[in-house]
């Protein structure tokens, strides 16, 4: 099905199953430990050997030699693989650095060897006996230095690095009220629960990897390219994923090394990265420096808005697209955005939950708070005042498909009790706590990706949906079952969902919050094809047929689904493809975050006391799983605001605090009550599901609301994330 015209009334609009808070259908498997994860596939890959990755001890330079003699002689060791004996390897299109380094080293902890042994302990122990002799090179690790020679990247997520409308410089210069501030965000780690892990096995020249990967179709192509084998010879299986947040979008070292190891020892090999290896071996969200200039009239109408972004990455890498939302979020006739990429030799920067917006809004939405104060306009009102219903760069010819930012702000403010906020900072005190409230807009672009599915009904009427779509903890199993149940007129319990296997039809995968809308749209397309076939079999006109209660009904007749299917069953493959509606219409998801903090007036410790958010993201397919996504993302926003930072050691060129003890993410005690409101919205231009994504929307702006609340509580305006207590006390009155 090609989706190139806005949807009209369709069978999803019956919303008897879709849109209901159905419990996760995979929940019982997970709580019982019966959902098999990549490192635990003894059921299908028995007698595995264990691989241990060795990472480079230097960030930049060359391997002179690797002495594996001692390691190979160690108890239980089956093989030691390095660049010297792994065979010729390619590099995936989406990897910036090679997954097996040597002789050139591109970053710290880049894999340089794999030790394969009978047991995990033997492999890890023998790894310490591998002697790697390096010549250290001169690396570039300091973003502040890198910005001096930073260059415009070729593109930023497929769009130009720079945009400009009107006369920004002139309008900013002559604006009555100006904000001109620079904000910095640090490198961040995804810190998902399940580490990168793979079990690999070969049968002749056919490779199967059971892995933890968000994008099965990409993984097949990248593995084939890296191993220089045919994609037909690669099967990727990834049915359960313990979190990804973008860290598992790509083929990573665990998968490649497991495949190489299995080939070398002729039996299944499994490789999991140890937690301390993850921040430097894999990808991370790159640090940014962002300059925001907003010029407005005295009463807060934006006249000029400019957002300049600097970020670093390895040569050949990409810039963090932190300026993109500024192209779309607020009105303003004169505008410009720029992105500059500094070459750094730090580990590979790449996508992490809401790449671009997550950190872009940390800057933009604090700048808006500063503008609100400068104009003396309420921050909610300021955002409402500068709302715009079309793409402000393209003009009215490109309207938003749906945009309920104002409603989110108003309803969110009402629920949160925003009117009780004292606009003057540092005024509200409870005991030794300074209390403040902050607001920020949420914005995340909507993307749609082609997605296929196979829907089969067996002779007993049981429905099975198969697609290589993944469930990264988001609830994909459940919303796909809901979609099929809705369209075929059955209960969720009548549907089996099989995911994450490259032998199934290719799907959108999980990334960029496109997964839910795109993959269910693929199931929609396939079910609609199937409905046509079944109606025909039943002798009905497809348009007239009603699928409900396990029956196909038309013309006063009702035929049980299984009778229409027949004893042999039926199976159909189809897919959704998207036309140019995302070009004709600006498509995005919106929201408003509210936060109340209590800051210890002595120690500067910040406690988030309440969070509330209102969100508009098209049809909410399952309010329960959607809420889980949003509160998880809000939690990640708190992490970004208050504690998350990969600290760069500029001498050695690596992230120093590379484990979960020292890379702080919020714990339960940091997160209070979170209130989530979804606005009723159907977006007929997004897909036949009329849905958009929510998985990333919740992080967008959440941290800025925390930052603005800190300011309101204390009068201390911080612009350097994370806002740790040392920075807070730097601005507090003497205790």
């Amino acid at each position: 099905m090609k989706f190139d015209q806005p949807a009209t009334l369709n069978p999803i609009d019956r919303a008897r199953v879709v849109g209901k808070p159905v419990d996760r259908i995979d929940g019982p498997l997970k709580v019982a430990g019966a959902a098999p994860y990549a490192y635990e596939r003894h059921d299908v890959a028995p007698n595995p050997a264990y691989g241990w990755m060795i990472g480079s001890a230097i960030a930049k330079g060359t391997i002179n030699s690797i002495d594996t003699t001692e390691a190979e002689a160690a108890p239980g060791v089956l093989a030691v693989l390095t660049h010297a004996n792994a065979g010729a390897l390619g590099k995936g299109n989406m990897n910036t650095a090679r997954l097996l380094g040597g002789p050139d080293i591109q970053h710290y902890d880049q894999a340089v060897a794999l030790v394969v042994a009978e047991t995990f302990e033997q492999a890890r122990d023998a790894a310490k006996l591998v002697r790697v002799d390096y010549t250290q090179g001169q690396g570039k690790f300091d973003l502040l230095v890198g910005v001096k020679t930073a260059q415009p990247p070729k593109s930023v997520q497929g769009s130009p690095a720079d945009t400009s409308v009107g006369d920004f410089d002139g309008a900013f210069k002559s604006a009555a009220v100006k904000v001109d501030q620079t904000y910095t965000t640090p490198d961040q780690s995804h810190a998902m629960m399940e580490p990168h892990a793979t079990t690999a096995a070969w049968a002749g020249d056919k490779l199967t990897v059971w892995t933890s990967n968000q994008m099965v179709t990409w993984a097949v192509k990248e593995m084939a390219k890296t191993l220089k084998i045919a994609p037909e010879n690669v099967q990727v299986v990834s049915p359960y994923i313990g979190g990804g947040f973008g860290s598992k979008l790509f083929l990573r070292a665990d998968a490649l090394l497991a495949a190489l190891g299995a080939r070398a020892v002729g039996r299944p090999v499994k490789v999991a990265l140890a937690r301390p290896q993850i921040p430097n071996n894999t990808t991370h969200r790159p640090a940014t420096i962002q300059r925001l200039r907003i010029g407005a009239t005295k009463d807060g109408v934006i006249q000029a808005i400019g957002h300049d972004v600097w970020a670093g990455d390895l040569p050949g890498g990409d810039v963090e697209s932190a300026g993109l939302q500024t192209r779309l979020l607020y009105a303003g006739k004169n505008r410009k955005t720029t992105h500059r990429l500094a070459e750094l030799d730090l580990p590979e920067g790449n996508a992490m939950r809401a790449p671009g917006e997550a950190v872009g809004l940390l800057a933009l939405e604090v700048a808006m708070d500063e503008l609100a104060e400068a104009c003396g306009v309420d921050p909610v009102e300021l955002r409402i005042k500068n709302d715009i219903q079309y793409d402000p760069e393209a003009g009215p010819k490109r309207p938003f498909s749906s945009r309920k930012l104002i409603e989110c702000l108003q309803q969110g403010a009402e629920r949160f009790g925003w009117s009780k906020r004292n606009p003057k900072p540092g005024q509200v005190r409870e005991g030794d706590f300074l209390i403040g409230m902050g607001v920020a807009a949420a914005f995340r672009n909507n993307m749609a990706m082609p997605s296929g599915a196979r829907v089969a009904i067996d002779g007993k009427g049981r429905i099975t949906v198969s697609t290589d779509m993944t469930d990264i903890g988001t609830g994909t199993y459940t919303i796909i079952a809901q979609t099929a149940a809705e369209l075929l007129g059955v209960n969720v319990s009548d549907v089996t969902v099989k995911l994450g296997d490259s032998s199934f039809p290719a799907s959108a995968g999980s990334g960029g919050q496109w997964g839910a809308n795109s993959s269910t749209a693929g199931v929609y397309a396939t079910c609609m094809t199937l409905r046509g076939m079944l109606a025909q079999k039943a002798g009905f006109n497809a348009e007239d047929a009603l699928f409900e209660d396990g029956m196909i009904k038309a013309a006063g007749k009702a035929i049980p689904l299984r009778d229409a299917v027949g004893r042999e069953g039926i199976s159909v493959d189809d897919k959704i493809e998207f036309g140019d509606l995302t070009e004709r219409y600006a498509q995005a998801t919106f929201g408003a975050h509210f936060c109340e903090v209590a800051v210890d007036r002595f120690t500067g410790e910040v406690h988030v006391r309440r969070m509330g958010g209102a969100f508009a993201a098209g049809r909410i397919l399952n309010p329960k799983t959607a809420r889980s996504q949003v509160i998880g993302a809000m939690t990640m926003g708190v992490g970004a605001a208050l504690m998350e930072e990969l600290v760069v050691d500029k001498r050695f060129g690596y992230f120093v605090n590379h484990d979960m003890a020292e890379y702080h993410v919020p714990v339960h005690a940091d997160i209070p009550e979170q209130d989530v409101l979804f606005l009723d919205e159907l977006d007929d231009k997004s897909s036949p599901m009329k849905a958009k994504g929510v998985g990333e929307l919740g992080i967008c702006g959440a941290g800025a609301a925390v930052a603005n609340a800190i300011y309101n509580a204390t009068g201390v305006r911080l612009r350097d994330y994370p806002m740790t207590l040392d920075k807070v006390i730097g601005g507090l009155a003497k205790a």
């Binding site: 310490k128 406690h607 940091d670 207590l725």
Partner: protein, 316 residues
């Protein structure tokens, strides 16, 4: 993890004897720190002496009104003990501010005293660290040192001791009781138990090779108000950026000990006497001779501010 041999000790003296006989040996109790370090090959014992079955898990009153805490009393049990909660509140609070419930269930009293620093360079075997590998240098000195020590540091090491429990024990003037392989027993005041780094940061305590901790003795209760204020970068499960243990007794006597400032629980007796003059005076005396870096200089201000919070809490 290096391959190692293992034995279960039959008595404290036998444990000490086994340790002397195997120079590469380590005692293992809860293992909450040692096992992590072994996996990373930061600790590479050739022999483990399991002391978990030695008893030593009781808390008993001493003749002079104090408490004797067995070396193997788990942190959870110590924090929850009725007499500890009643008479040594600062100790109970310090324990509960540390680690997580699961870790406290395993971690022991002696093991807590002996835990190693969390300096990230100590944890990274590709980096210099005089504590891990004497003579290689200190990567923290000019590296990431926001959370490093500002008191009693040396050119060789600026690591902190991570324990909360030890700070409270130092405040309470606890003594550490030990036994050696020949059966000799001694009592080491907490003030002398942990060492400053000097030029041997790899030697962290006063324990002789093989010397085995049997118990920690708390003197009779001080009474008064007990406060443990831990400042950290998140609300739970983080090591202290700074902590203050304080007792304000009924006679108006005060004493203060600090975590996150030094290679050992930090206490300056001269500062104790200044409680009546307020937070600034105490901080100034406690921090005399402080040596800060650009990243950790805030600890000076934070110490005073946290003391002020402690004074305010006392008044509340």
């Amino acid at each position: 993890m290096k391959a190692f041999t293992y034995e279960r000790a039959a008595s404290p003296a036998k444990a000490a004897e086994a340790a002397v006989a195997n120079p590469g040996a380590k005692f293992i109790a809860g293992g909450t720190n040692l096992l992590d370090l072994m996996k990373l090959q930061i600790e590479t014992p050739t022999h483990l002496i399991d002391v978990n079955r030695l008893g030593l898990d009781e808390i008993a009153a001493t003749r002079d009104g104090g408490l004797r805490i067995g070396a193997l009393v788990r942190n959870t049990d110590l924090a929850a003990h009725k007499a500890v909660r009643r008479d040594y509140g600062v100790l109970s609070r310090a324990l509960l501010s540390g680690a997580s419930g699961q870790l406290r269930n395993k971690a022991t009293t002696a093991g807590n005293l002996l835990q190693r620093t969390r300096c990230p360079y100590f944890y990274d075997t590709t980096k210099p660290c005089n504590k891990r590998k004497p003579g290689t240098g200190c990567a923290a000195l000019n590296g990431f040192n926001r959370n490093m020590a500002i008191m009693g540091t040396s050119a060789d090491c600026i690591a902190t001791h991570p324990s909360d429990m030890a700070v409270a024990m130092r405040l309470l003037d606890a003594t550490v009781e030990t036994i050696t392989s020949d059966g000799t027993k001694r009592a080491i005041p907490m003030a002398d138990f942990h060492r400053l780094p000097g030029n041997t940061p790899d030697i962290e305590t006063a324990l002789a090779p093989g010397e085995f901790i049997t118990s920690v003795v708390l003197p009779k209760p001080l009474g008064g108000t007990h406060i443990y204020r831990k400042v950290r970068d998140r609300t739970s499960y983080a090591f202290a950026v700074l902590s203050v243990a304080a007792v304000f007794d009924k006679q108006g006597e005060t004493r203060f000990a600090f975590g996150g400032l030094a290679h050992k629980p930090w206490r300056v007796e001269a500062a104790d006497a200044l409680g009546s003059r307020g937070a600034a005076a105490v901080a100034e005396a406690a921090l005399a001779g402080a040596k800060t870096t650009e990243q950790n200089a805030f600890k000076i201000d934070l110490t005073q501010r946290t003391l002020a919070a402690v004074f305010a809490q006392k008044e509340a």
